[in-house]
């Protein structure tokens, strides 16, 4: 695996924390000096924008092509796919579509991954398997139950955060994601009534275990939502993002919004760059999204700094409706 992550001066710190988790040791790990974004950007890993008209069989080939284009070497590695499961509804766009997740599962297996799991820890509903069933996961992914880990109820390891951006001093996190070699964040393309947009970085709220912190994971709210998103991003530097933007959600997301067809899948090894690109596709200014500011600095979010592959942003841009309170986030071109 060789995803370029030039904005992450965290490999040493991550390796230390991951080593603790991989060894199955319950003792606290430590992440050092990893919460401050660098003042200057060198380069982001490329972001790919793929057109996808529907949740069809074509997604299987698309994700395989994506893995090849991003030179993801997952041979012999443990991969965890982290979709966004929120509510019981097979007919709206609240959850990441299971077809895309299954396509990723098959593609990473075909690429030689030793183990590919699907894992999620919803923030409001406790009955995760029922929720996944209602969302079509059992029907779409063969043997889903044996492939799935409820991150709310997984074994955990406590990590101490040194110099976090949020008020968190430490966090219990699931060993399934701490011990994997590649975490694939697979959110839905959505607006979010608090954070502005919920994408691959915000999706990591789902790794925080409800079994420890409850439903919702309210400690994150008190510690600062944008800051926690930035901290979680730092805690998981080996994250590849695949955003389900085929049909997204606009308006009062992430739960009560309305479907909005964008017809894209967006992917890359730099979640900040992927999320910034997704914002532009939705018509949001990434420089006004606080967690992106915190993670990268406004100067590093400029469009010209993010290498784009596949479709151009302009060719797929789909202006998502925003709540009036979020009108100030609108991208002006």
């Amino acid at each position: 695996m060789n995803p370029k992550r030039p904005l992450q001066p965290t490999r040493r710190a991550w390796a230390k924390a991951a080593g603790v988790a991989a060894a199955g040791v319950a003792a606290a790990g430590t992440l050092e000096n990893c919460s401050r974004p660098p003042a200057r950007v060198q380069a982001w890993a490329p972001v790919s924008i793929y057109r996808a008209a529907a949740y069809s069989e074509e997604l299987y080939g698309l994700v395989r092509r994506m893995i090849a284009e991003h030179a993801l070497d997952v041979r012999g590695k443990r991969v965890v796919l982290k979709p966004n499961l929120v509510e019981f509804d097979a007919h709206t766009v609240i959850n990441t579509n299971p077809k895309l997740v299954h396509a990723a599962l098959e593609a990473f297996r075909a690429a030689g991954a030793a183990d590919v799991r699907i894992a999620e820890g919803p923030g409001h509903r406790r009955v995760t398997l029922d929720l996944a069933d209602a969302g079509g996961y059992f029907a779409t992914v063969p043997k889903f139950e044996s492939l799935f880990t409820d991150l709310n109820l997984d074994e955990t390891t406590k990590l101490d955060l040194v110099r976090p951006l949020s008020k968190l001093q430490s966090l219990y996190l699931p060993n399934t994601v701490l011990g994997c070699d590649l975490l694939v964040s697979m959110p839905k393309l959505k607006t979010h009534h608090w954070a502005g947009a919920t994408l691959s970085m915000k999706n990591l709220f789902g790794v925080v275990p409800g079994g420890v912190y409850g439903w919702p994971k309210n400690v994150l709210h008190w510690a600062g939502i944008p800051q926690c998103i930035a901290d979680l991003h730092t805690l998981f530097p080996k994250t590849f993002a695949i955003v389900d933007g085929i049909v997204g959600m606009e308006g009062n997301g992430p739960i009560q919004g309305t479907p909005r067809t964008a017809g894209v899948v967006v992917a890359g090894a730099s979640p900040v760059a992927v999320d910034a690109t997704c914002c532009r596709i939705m018509g949001l200014d990434p420089a006004r999204i606080q967690y992106l500011q915190l993670s990268a600095g406004v100067q590093n979010l400029a469009e010209e700094l993010i290498p784009q592959r596949g479709e151009r942003i302009e060719s797929v841009a789909t202006s998502f409706a925003l709540l009036p309170e979020l009108a100030g986030l609108r991208l002006s071109r």
Binding site: A26, F88, H124, R125, R126, V127, L129, D130, L131, D133, A134, F138, E145, D150, L153, D154, E155, T156, K158, Y172, H193, G211, V212, Y213, G214, W215, P216, N218, V219, H221, W222, N252, I255, Q256, L323, E325
Partner: protein, 310 residues
Amino acid sequence: MLYSEDLLSRQNADGGWSYFRGGSWTEPTCYALLALAASGMGQQAEVRRGMDWLRRCQRPDGGFAPRESVKESTWVTALTLLLPPAEGFDRARAEAWTVDQTGRESGWVYRLRLWMLGAGSSTDSMSFDGWPWYPGAAAWVGPTALSVLALQKMAKRDGGLANRSDLKKRVDQGVSYLLARRCRDGGWNHGSTRALGYDSDSYPETTGLALLALHGVDDPQVTRGLARGEQHLAVCQSSEGVSWLRLGLGSHGRAALPSAVGRTAKQTGNGSNIAEAGNSLPAMHGGVMEIALAALADAAQAGRNSFLDV
């Protein structure tokens, strides 16, 4: 397989239970023990081993952590108070820990801030002391309902709330909190009834749990909650949700479902005990929580509600 047999077969070597597999957690252990006690197995060696595991998990502050490796007492402490009395378990300190917990929004700093912003009133949901999942966070419906049930049960053991004015005050606050956090549709979700001016929908699980905690409360809001609970039950897609609704509706004298037969399947799609009894209900996934809650709902329907009866 009987629920009780299924639960016993899932007990870990250390005496506790996991949610599905792996290490023991306090929450599924409490529900498994409660269900086994409800099925008349309270004196079995397995139950004593479970209580021993739980006893070892009590923390110096009197509370309980979600699991041994977590070094913080949380909402699961209330669950331990629902269990039958057992030797060596410092119930008084667990009770004291629970009584001391309030949501962060109950603090004077937060309320002063709300008052200065003109956002608070004497009747809104911020005015009542509920319970948080985790210390330092806000109060929510789930832990508040369970804490109300736990303190009510503790008071019953002492002859009732009239004899425990200290508990009565907190129980009354918890009940008021629950009534104030009812969703516009009549039921309860996790505790956020509105966001940015938009109404939120209720959930089956939390509606059932809140109704259970509000048993005996004569209030038009509860009546509306019961109606919403019955609506949820008709379409509920979760076995745990069905069990909570049966417990909640049943505690108000509403006959939720025909009595089940006390048998369960281990795999999804095989049908639960209730499905075998002829009702079309959600499949079970083999989790300890759903098995224990189904057993508790059956027992309640048979006249023994382990959340309410001493």
